[in-house]
Amino acid sequence: STIVLVFEAPADFEFSVEAGQKIQVGQKLGDV
C-alpha cells in the first residue's frame, strides 16, 4: 500500500527526508 500527499505550501517549504529513507508515523517530513 502507498500514501500520496499532494499539498500547497509556501515556495520555501523544504522536505527533510531522502528518497529511500525509512520513516515512521509522526516523524518530520518537512517544514516551512
Partner: protein, 398 residues
C-alpha cells in the same frame, strides 16, 4: 497432388504448453503496444488512463487481481487456533520485520487472525510526534518527493515516471450531480471544538463559510443513503432520489469551498509518496492539522505498489483503487491519497464508516469516481477536522 492429399497420413503431435503461452503473451503485447500509442479521452476531453508498460506488466494485468485480493482477505480473516497464534505471528514478524515490542497487546493470542494482527494498533507513545508543520502519516519508506510543475501538473511516481495530478485526484465534471453529504455518526471520532481547532491550528475560514451554513446539509435535513452517489453509471434508485431531494432543498455542492489545486502567488504544489511494506504498521494518521472536505473513491485495479512495480508501470497510482481525501490546511490546498494494492485492497476511514473499497460488482468506467462531502462533520469548518498525528484509518488485508 490428389495422391498426396488422400494418402499422406496425418500425424498429430502436442504443441508444448510454453509455446502456446508465449504466443498468447506476444499477441497481447502487440495489441497493447498499439493501444499505448493512442490517447483515449472521455466525453469531457479528459484522458482516460490505460495500462501501459513492458510485457510482464500486461501478464500481471491479465490476472484477476481484485478477486485474488478478496480471496486473500477472506483467507486471512479466518480465525486461527489459539495455540498457533504466537508461533504464526512471530514467524510473520520475523519474515517481514515487525517489531513485536511495539504492538498494543503483548499477548499475541489476542489477535484472532493474520488480518487482525496486520491491522494492529501500537502502544501508546511509541511514535513521538515532531512539532514540524508536516509529519509522516505512516510507517514506511519514502519513494519519492518534490514539487509539481505548475503548468505540466504531473507528479513523479519514481524518477522519470510521471502521472497526471488531475487523474490522481479527479476533476470536477460539468453537469455531474452534486456530491452526497456523509451522515456523520455521533461519536464516530473524538469531538474537536471547531473554534479551538481553528485558532490553534491556524485554519482560516471565510465569513461565507461561517454564515453559509444554512445551505449546508445536515443529517436531519437530507435523508441520504450515503455512499455511492453521483456517478451516472450508478442506477440505485434510492441514491438518485437522494440527489433529487438534495437539489430540491437547495443543497449546493461545496466544491467551490475547497481551495483550488492551483497554488496562490508565493506558493507551490508539493508531493511525497510513502510506501508501506507488508510488515509495517498499517494504520495511517493525519500528517498535519487540516480539514477533509470531500473524498473521491476511484475503483480501479489492485496492482502491487512495490518499488519494483512502481518502476515499471506508469500511472500505477492512477490505475489502482484509491481514496482521494481533499481539503485545506493553513497554507491552502491539502490532499492525502491512500492507494490500495493486491494484498491490501481495503481502505478504512475512521470517520467514514460507509466507505467500502474492493467490493464485488459492476465496476464504473476507468477514471470515474464517486464523491462524498463531509460538510455535516463541522458546519464552521465545512469538513472533518483532523489534528496532527490523529489516527485516520488504515489498510486491511484483502
Amino acid at each position: 497432388l490428389v495422391n498426396a492429399w488422400t494418402q499422406t497420413p496425418t500425424k498429430w503431435f502436442p504443441l508444448p504448453l510454453a509455446v502456446g503461452a508465449l504466443l498468447l503473451v506476444a499477441m497481447q503485447y502487440r495489441k497493447n503496444s498499439a493501444r499505448a500509442k493512442e490517447v483515449v479521452v472521455d466525453e469531457h476531453g479528459i484522458e482516460v488512463v490505460k495500462l501501459r508498460g513492458p510485457w510482464h506488466v500486461h501478464v500481471i494485468g491479465a490476472l484477476p487481481l481484485r478477486n485474488m485480493s478478496r480471496l486473500w482477505g477472506y483467507i486471512n480473516s479466518l480465525e486461527l487456533p489459539v495455540w498457533f497464534r504466537p508461533i504464526g505471528f512471530r514467524l510473520y514478524a520475523g519474515v517481514f520485520g515487525c517489531n513485536l515490542d511495539e504492538v498494543e497487546h503483548d499477548d499475541l493470542r489476542t489477535y484472532k487472525s493474520l488480518g487482525d494482527f496486520f491491522y494492529r494498533r501500537l502502544k501508546e507513545g511509541v511514535r513521538p510526534v515532531d512539532p514540524a508543520v508536516l509529519v509522516s502519516p505512516a510507517d514506511g519508506r519514502i519513494l519519492h518527493f518534490g514539487s509539481i510543475h505548475p503548468h505540466e501538473r504531473t507528479v513523479e511516481q519514481v524518477k522519470g515516471v510521471t502521472y497526471s495530478l488531475d487523474a490522481l485526484l479527479g476533476v470536477d465534471r460539468p453537469g455531474s450531480p452534486p456530491p452526497t453529504p456523509v451522515i456523520m455518526h455521533p461519536n464516530s471520532m473524538p469531538v474537536v471544538d471547531e473554534h479551538d481547532f481553528a485558532n490553534v491550528n491556524g485554519i482560516e475560514y471565510t465569513l461565507d463559510q461561517l454564515m453559509g451554513t444554512s445551505a449546508t446539509p445536515t443529517s436531519e435535513d437530507v435523508p441520504h443513503k450515503f455512499g455511492d452517489q453521483v456517478d451516472a453509471s450508478v442506477d440505485d434508485q434510492d441514491q438518485v432520489d437522494s440527489v433529487a431531494v438534495a437539489r430540491e432543498l437547495g443543497v449546493r455542492p461545496s466544491l467551490q469551498r475547497t481551495p483550488s489545486m492551483t497554488p496562490r502567488a508565493g506558493n507551490d504544489l508539493f508531493f511525497t509518496v510513502i510506501y508501506l511494506a507488508p510488515g509495517d504498521y498499517h494504520r495511517f494518521h493525519s500528517p498535519t492539522a487540516w480539514v477533509v472536505e470531500k473524498r473521491r473513491h476511484f475503483v480501479g485495479e489492485l496492482f502491487s505498489v512495490s518499488p519494483w512495480m512502481a518502476n515499471r508501470l506508469p500511472n500505477l497510482f492512477v490505475l489502482n483503487e484509491r481514496v482521494a481525501l481533499l481539503g485545506k490546511w493553513k497554507h491552502g490546498f491539502f490532499s492525502m491519497v491512500p492507494v490500495g494494492a493486491t494484498n491490501v485492497g481495503s481502505i478504512m476511514l475512521n470517520f467514514d464508516s460507509e466507505l467500502r473499497t474492493n467490493v464485488r460488482g459492476k465496476r464504473p468506467p476507468p477514471g470515474t469516481f464517486t464523491e462524498a462531502v463531509y460538510s455535516s462533520a463541522s458546519k464552521i469548518l465545512n469538513g472533518q477536522p483532523l489534528t496532527t498525528a490523529q489516527e485516520m484509518g488504515g489498510f486491511c488485508l484483502g
